[in-house]
Amino acid sequence: MQTLFERPESLQTTRTHYCPGCTHGIIHRLVAEALDELGVRENAVGVSPVGCSVLAYYYFNCDFVEAAHGRAPAVATGIKRTRPDLTVFTYQGDGDLASIGMAETVHAANRGEKIMVIFVNNAIYGMTGGQMAPTTLPGQVASTCPSGRDVNTAGWPIRVVELLSSLVTPAYLARVAVHRPQYVVEAKRAIVQAFRNQIEGRCYSMVECLSICPTNWGMTGRDSCDWLEKNMIPYYPLGVVKTPEGSSSRARVATQGA
């Protein structure tokens, strides 16, 4: 009997508190698989955000610290600068990373901290009950934009990897999605690559993962996947936006796997 697919060692068996269908779970698994495959679980320190994934530390089987809302990159900086031998990653939502944590994100990326950032973009504040995020799409309804995001007062959604790609320093910036298996496969490659960058001493990597929030989008999981495909991907194009080689032409993740 051969096992084709099973729970990675870096993931605890604890059941998550995530809503049914929430793809936070998939992203967790991908990170855990990457830790397993690269053999760095015993060397890794994760930083959880404030957001639905605040309890990530219960789900990963590696050392973890909880950061204040938006400050995970600063916490990760503190860890990596004192213990450069550790593999350090943050796991952050779009409210956490792109709203309150914008300065920490831009500066950690720009200082070239040798960390890796998993950025879960679900276009909403999940944990607090569906408020508008900086990534909420135009017209998308949220509890603090009950008539849909109005770009005239709230501006256009922020494309984080594109924003960071205008910086010279960061090594690797990619956007992936996890709402269908074929995307998940590419997402995994990007995440593995990002970890590998760090292990090989390269600086800041970010993988933005488009993710669903059935609960606050007010849809079933399946409809959420369709909605992501139809609405998010056109605005948030997938691919690798920046690599250590400095190429910034958008490439499919698949072509990047080393």
């Binding site: 015993e42 204040a68 600063a74 916490v75 503190g78 213990r83 920490e104």
Partner: protein
């Protein structure tokens, strides 16, 4: 080590290095930028790391991360910068992490000014961030003591797994005085068996301040409370001046202000008036008992602060109505002069006759 004439800020930086601290994260702000400047020169030379954070908000979270690995870490700032660290400090306290923070206080509120002040007493001892936590707060009155308390601060932070704040003002930070560095650590310290070092051959560790369950969060708070009670038992520090001779007025003052009062006391002594002083060195835990006892020997108490009256609440809580408590203070960078204090003592004593 030989005595060296050093600026307070530089002595603070050097004392941290002597205490084994090799990591600094911070953001420039007058009147303490000499600390990061000094450390940006010195740390690389001793194999350490200096990081200029993008802000104090970031700095406070960087030191959280650094402390989580079990490393000694320092940040320094001044009033507005410390305010920006409030959330981070509350997290550090909630995560029970040892860090040393320095606040070289300037006049407030708001942007205020950069002259010496003691108007962050409340913030340091009670307020700042949200929740039931306390910093252990040390207040030096000289450059030498600043250096000593930095060393002690690292030890106490490790002893209690609690953030320690060393609080001074522009006078302490900018002044040069002779200083000699002592070896550290001095205390017997517990092992850091909670630090994040990678889960090699052990269970994964978690450092967090989140407890969604009320009982668990209460348990954290009870643990913190027990820690603060232990501090009050084991680590209250203060010094006295001219108390042996007997006195009818007791001055309570800390830091810079205590030095000014010391000069005032000398001036008064020359005129045959004996005034005693008690100088809290730990602002938290506060030397309530010592102040109470010292006050008993006096007919009145005078609190002198570079603020509109903040420590006075602690003096009142010590004396509990048993003696009249007077206040002399300035704010915003105006430094009380010894003459003013002398004046004030005279007028208090004049009240005794009537």
């Amino acid at each position: 080590m030989a005595k060296k004439l050093m600026k307070g800020c530089e002595a603070i930086g050097e004392a941290a290095i002597q205490a084994g601290c090799r990591h600094f994260f911070g953001y420039p702000i007058t009147p303490q930028s000499e600390v990061p400047e000094y450390l940006s020169r010195r740390l690389p030379a001793v194999g350490g790391v200096f990081v200029q954070a993008e802000s104090e908000v970031a700095a406070s979270n960087m030191i959280l991360g650094a402390a989580a690995t079990g490393t000694r870490v320092l940040t320094t700032s001044s009033s507005p910068g410390i305010s920006l660290m409030s959330e981070g400090i509350s997290y550090i306290a909630g995560c029970e992490l040892p860090v040393v923070l320095v606040n070289i206080v300037r006049g407030g509120p708001g942007l205020g000014g950069i002259l010496p002040a003691q108007s962050d007493y409340n913030q340091a001892t009670r307020g700042g961030g949200h929740g039931d936590y306390h910093l252990l707060v040390l207040a030096p009155a000289s450059v030498q003591e600043a250096a000593d308390l930095i060393g002690l601060g690292f030890d106490l932070a490790d002893k209690y797994r609690n953030p320690v704040m060393v609080i001074g003002d522009g006078m302490i930070g900018q002044m040069m005085e002779p200083v000699e560095f002592r070896k550290s650590p001095v205390l017997d310290l517990p092992p850091k068996d909670w630090a994040l070092t990678g889960a090699r051959g052990r269970k994964a560790r978690i450092i967090t301040s989140l407890f969604l369950n009320g009982e668990e969060l209460e348990a954290l708070n009870l643990r913190l409370k027990a820690k603060y009670e232990r501090m009050a038992r084991e680590d209250v520090r203060f010094s006295t001046y001219n108390v042996e001779a007997g006195y009818d007025v007791l001055i309570v003052a800390y830091g810079t202000t205590a030095r000014i009062c010391q000069t005032a006391i000398d001036l008064l002594r020359e005129k045959g008036v004996s005034v005693g002083m008690i100088r809290p060195i730990t602002l938290y835990p506060y030397p309530y008992e010592a102040v109470a006892k010292a006050a008993e020997a006096a007919r009145a108490v005078l609190t002198v602060e570079m603020s509109m009256g903040q420590m006075i609440d602690d003096v009142k809580l010590s004396v509990l109505g048993k003696r009249p408590i007077h206040f002399h203070g300035h704010a915003g960078g105006v430094i009380p002069t010894p003459d003013e204090v002398v004046e004030r003592i005279h007028s208090i004593r004049a009240g005794f006759q009537s």
